[in-house]
Structure formats: structure tokens, C-alpha cells
Amino acid sequence: MTLATVTLAVLWVGLTLYVLLGGADFGGGVWDLIAGGPERGRETRRLVEHSLGPVWEANHVWLIFVVVVLWTSFPPVFASVASTLYIPLTLAALGIIGRGAAFAYRKVTTQLWQQRLFGAVFAFSSVMTPFFLGAAAGGIASGRVPLGIARGNLVTSWWNPTSVVAGLLAVGTAAYLAAVYLTRDAQRGHAEDLAEYFRRRALITGVVVGGLAVVGLLVLYLDERSLFVELTTGRALPLLIVSVVSGVVSLVLLVRRAFLAVRVTAALAVAGLLWGWGVGQYPMLLPGVTVQEASASRTVLAASLGALLGGAILLVPSLWWLFHLSQQPTTVRQSDTAPRGGEPPGGEPPGVEPPD
């Protein structure tokens, strides 16, 4: 395996973590959006807020990681992708800013109208961002981003059958993962009705996303035959099988209320799809451009990998501590200043944790 392939694998691990963790945070926003009016949706929104609060910024950094590793290790690919997919990526960027800022603002405001306003921005951009990121991914997967600066079609590169399905799949996946993670969070917080609420939604979205994945395969068959062939009969087939089997097992586990185990299988189902794409397209990054051809010089790859490895030594225990703490119940100090207007929510500060 060459250094470039190793770097690509590291990039793909980062992407996978972003989809599994950051994606679920967007999914939380999707559920926030359709939770109903202020009264009816209050408990749902609170659970979403508690789950996202401590971890979303750390989860978000995976995206920056992917972007930075891409431009460092495969600069021409980054330049081609960013310049051709300028429109969806700008919209995704605006969605990112809207989501993050509005979430932070809603957290600290007290008036209903403020919370509704910021909540609406948070929830709406939680749908918009994964859609456009997915659409951009679809453009790359279907070979619509050629090498060169702004060489691809500025519109059809992301507004085409594969992109639309990929965008919907991204939103669906985000919502599905969030529902699965939140079910467990609610259960741990002894909010049985909320757990039941998200279990139902996890089941429904699981079926919908599974259906979308099938549609996606059909679209690929019509739109990008070579990737379809790789996925269904080639190297990527084992990964597709992992994804399908994990998806089905997840549904069974949800029915049987094995909420911790389903986190693992749901994540596997999504990761299988992502790696199936990666393996299916390898070694081509863009049409006619292989990993080797597009990669940065060896010294750069070695230096970045070394830096990332060193960083991982710091990051892994820190992340573990964060997730560990965010999954612990709070012990509320009954000292000086309690939060205004009501009892503190003891024992229910769950977080979207990694599928452990």
C-alpha cells in the first residue's frame, strides 16, 4: 500500500466519523424541525439539545479534518471539487454557520419567540447542510467533477439523479442515526415515552433510508454504471452486504429494544455504504485521475500523517473523556444559583456518543 492510499484511508475514516457523529447531530436538527409546536415538541427538543450540546463542536471538527487533509494530500482534487461544486458547497457552508450559530443562540435565550426563531434556523439548516453535502458527494461519485478548475458543469454537477438521491440519503441517514442514538439517550435518562417516540421514528426512517439506498442503486445503474458494477459484483460487494445485513439487523434490534446494540449496527450500515462507495471508486478519485496521480509529494504525505498520528495520541483519550462525561448523569449542586424557572433536569444529560 502506498503512502497516498494510506492517506486516502485516513481521510475516509475522518469522513466516516463525520457522517456517523456530525451527521447524527444534523439528524437531531431534523427531528427538532418536525417535533411539533412549542408545547408538544418541548421534551423532544430538550433531548436533542442535551445530546448535541457538549459534543457537536467536536463532531463538527471532523469536517474540517476532511477538508484540510483533502487539500493537503490531494490538492488538485480539492481545487477541482471546490471550484466545480461551488454552489452546493457554498450553500452547505451557509447551512453550517446557520446551524451552529442558531443552536448556540437558542441555548442561551429565554424568550419563546427568540427560541422559536433560532430553533427554526437551527432545524432548517440541519436539513439543508446534509442535503447539499450529499449532493456534492453524488456529483463526485457519478464522475461529474472533472480535473481542473471549474471544469465541470456548475449546475448539473450537483443537480442530477445521483446527487439528488445522495442528498436525500444524507438527510435520511442523519435522521436515522440521530433517532437511533437518541432512543438510547432517552432510555438512559429514564424518559421511556421519548425512547418509544424515537424508536418508532428510527424504525420508520430505517425502512425509508433502506428504500432510498435501493433507489440509489437503481439510479447508479442508470447514471454511473461502473460504480454500480463494483458495488454489486465487484470489490465493494462485501461492504454492500455488510451494510444491508447491518441495516436489517438494526431493524430487528429496534423491534426488540436493544438500544445500545443497534447503535453499532446502524453505524455499520451507514459506514458500509460509505466504504462501499470508496472501495468501488478506488483508485479513481476524479474521472481519469488516480490516487497516485493526484497525491501530494511524499514528504508532505509523511509529514501530515506523522502530525495526525501524533495528534491522535492526544485526541483519542480526550475524545473518550468527553463522550464518557457527556454520557454521565449530572449531579446538580444545590448551592447558590439554580437555573431560573423550574427544577434542573437531573440525571438526563445524554450525548450523541460514538457507537461503542
Binding site: 463542536e57 457552508a93 454557520i97 441555548k107 442561551v108 433560532f118 509529514a303 502530525a307 468527553l322 431560573r340
Partner: protein, 453 residues
Amino acid sequence: MHPLAVAATPADLLAARLQMGLSLGWHIVLACFGVGMPAMTLIAEWRGLRTGDPAYQLLARRWARAMGVLFAVGAVSGTILSFEMGLLWPGLMGRYGQVIGLPFALEAIAFFIEAIFLGIYLYAWDRLSPRQHLLAGIPIVIAGIASAFFVVAANAWMNQPTGFDERHHRIISVAPWRAMFNPATPPQTVHMILAAFMVTGFGLASVYAVAMLRGRRDRYHRLGFALPFTIAAVITPIQIVVGDWAARFVAEHQPIKLAAMEGVYVTQSGVPLHVGGIVVNGHMRYALEIPYALSLLAHGNPFATVIGLNTVPPTDRPPVNVVHLSFQVMVGIGFALLALALWWAIVWWRRRRAPASPWFYRASALAGVGAVIALESGWVTTEVGRQPWVVYGILRTADAVNPAPGLVVGFFIVASVYVVLTIATVYVLRLLARERPVPVAPQEYDADESGAS
């Protein structure tokens, strides 16, 4: 890589530059608070722990809450920038992405550490012992400063591109560490990190200066003013020395930028310093001239030769008035802040108390805005001063821009989002400043559990 087949229109180039300038100029303020605020909050928390003084504890909580909001917005506004590097400047990233990749990869790690420990610091206030909690804050401080170092190192490379070999627009070898530690890195990073602490210190202090002018002179407000102000006041004279170092560096390595900063057209020796003034038709007008001062300041010799703008063709010159004016503004504010810091120091030294004059607090109330303006002007000086190059002497900004049509539309959309974002951020920060009482664990609960949604 293919050379550019199509070029961007001048309007699109301008739009791309404005968009980058807007998002960077916006982010840089938040980034400064991201670098400076954790340290100040930790000092307040530590003093609170040591002395049991409730005023310090309250300050720590309140600052932590504001820090949470500022960090969140800073995180996303920083992400936009990483997107825009490619969306707007693919010609830069496609060619040199790998050369400046290392500091960005390290920055991503540092930012990760920052985000993780900020999550722990804000949300686990009650789940950790006070000592553990204080220690959990230290990585935020270190990682924040490290982030600033790495990002500014990448920017320094654009001023002093080193550490690579290229032939026919193709990179053939890269020395990533040498690129990161390019000659401009030391002065630029130190100058920026100190600026971050000045912006945070004067910025926080100005909030309490306003409160004190309105008659709230209790211990909480006095400390809220004194702690950040003292830190900023101590840094200010150091910053002026570092600024001088940075300017000498520019004089040595980017003489055309210095010429623009000072409005020098003709290369000569014994050059005067222009204070104020505006360039009309290639001549500096209405400026106060201090004889020999520029030669002395830039090269340490009153008769030293200063290279003028006329040594390069007009297409290779930055817009002189913008650079000259912004540089003057930065230096002017820097010295005004120094005067304010001296006022504080002298009163302390002679009377062992804070100044009592309302004029001191009026000036301090303006110091926060002043520090931000100085920051922005300094950044305009270095960025606009590098023009028309994006990579000094190697790649023109016009050749780096995305040639896709419609950048103008994109700019207007992005600009409106930033207008809304600015209004919302200021509004929310004002709400936080007035909030009473401050919750125990800054982000542990919804602001109002009884409020719906």
C-alpha cells in the same frame, strides 16, 4: 494542473476578495476571543477558587457562558473559511495546498483539542471537582494559542513563500516544515497572538467600563474591569515592540508592502515618516513629515535607503491609500491604548488604586472597539499590502480566483448572512451580559426550563 482557460471577470474577482475579506475579518474577531478568553476565564476561576471570592466565581461563570457562544460561532465561521479557500481560491489551493497543508493539519488537531475540552469545561462544570475543572480548561488555552500560531504560519507563508521547488507551475518537491517555519512566521504569529489578548482584554474590560460609568462600581464590576484590562495593559507595550519587529521584517523582506504602508514612491535615503496624509496622483499630500524617521525606524539608520513603489510597475503595486491608512490607524490606536495603559499603571503605582476619573472609564469603554479596529486595520495592512499577489511574488490573486461565473451573487448572499449573523451575535451577547443570576454550570441547562421550545 491546467493553466486557467477562462479568467474571472474583474467584478467576480472583487466579489471573491470582498467575500474572503468579510468572512476573514469577521472570524478574526471571534478567533481572538477564542484565543484570549479561556485564559482570562481560567484566571478568574482560579482566583475564585483560591480566595473564595464570589465576585471572581461569578465572573468566571459569566465569561464561560459568553465563551461558549463565541466559540460556537467562531467554529462555524472558521469552517466557512476552510471551504472558501477552495470555493474562491482553487488556483491557490490546487497548486500550493500541499505546501501549506501541514500547519492546517496541525491547526485541525489543535482546534479539535479546543472543541473537546471546551465541551468538557462548559458541560461538566458540576461533574468534576473544582480542581479537575480548572485543569480541564488549560488545554483550551494552549490549543487556542497553538491554533492561532498554525493559521498565521500559513498566512506568513503567503508573505514569504519558502519550502518548495516548482518547475512550469508544477510542484516538484516540498519541505513542509520549512514552509511552516518560513521567515515571516515568528514576527507575524507573535504579533497576532498578542493582538488576540489585547482584543480580548480591552474588549472585556470595556463592557465593565460601561457598567461602571453607569454607576455599578461594586467589587464584581471592578474586578471584571481590572482583570482583563491589566492583562491587556501589560501586553500593549510588548506589542508595540513586536510590531516594530514585524515592520522591520516587512521593510527587509517585502519592501513594496512597506513602501505602500508609508506611501513612499521614490527610492531614496534618509526618508521621512509620513503621519496621516493621502496619496493623490502618486504623491503623498497633507502628511505630517518627520525627517529621517522612516529610514531610522525601518532600517535602524537615519540615512538608510528605503525602496519606493516606483521600483515595480504599477500592476505590481498594492492600493497605497488603503494600506497607508489602515497601517496609520493600527499604529495610532496602538499608541492610544499604550497611553491608557500608562494612565492605569501610573495611578496604580502612585496611589495603589484604580483611576477614579470618569474620563479614564470613558476612554476604556472605547478601548474595546478601538482594539478591534486596530486588529482589522492591521490585518488589512498585511493582506492588502501583499496585493496583487496571493503568494508574494509568485501567484497573483487574479490567477488564483475561481473563474466560475456568479461569484458576485454568492458574495451578496454571504454578505447578507453575515449581516444577520452580526446582529444576532451582538443581540445575544447583550442578553448574556444582562443575565441574572448566572447558572451554576454555564451550559448545563436550558436558559429557561419553563420556556417552551
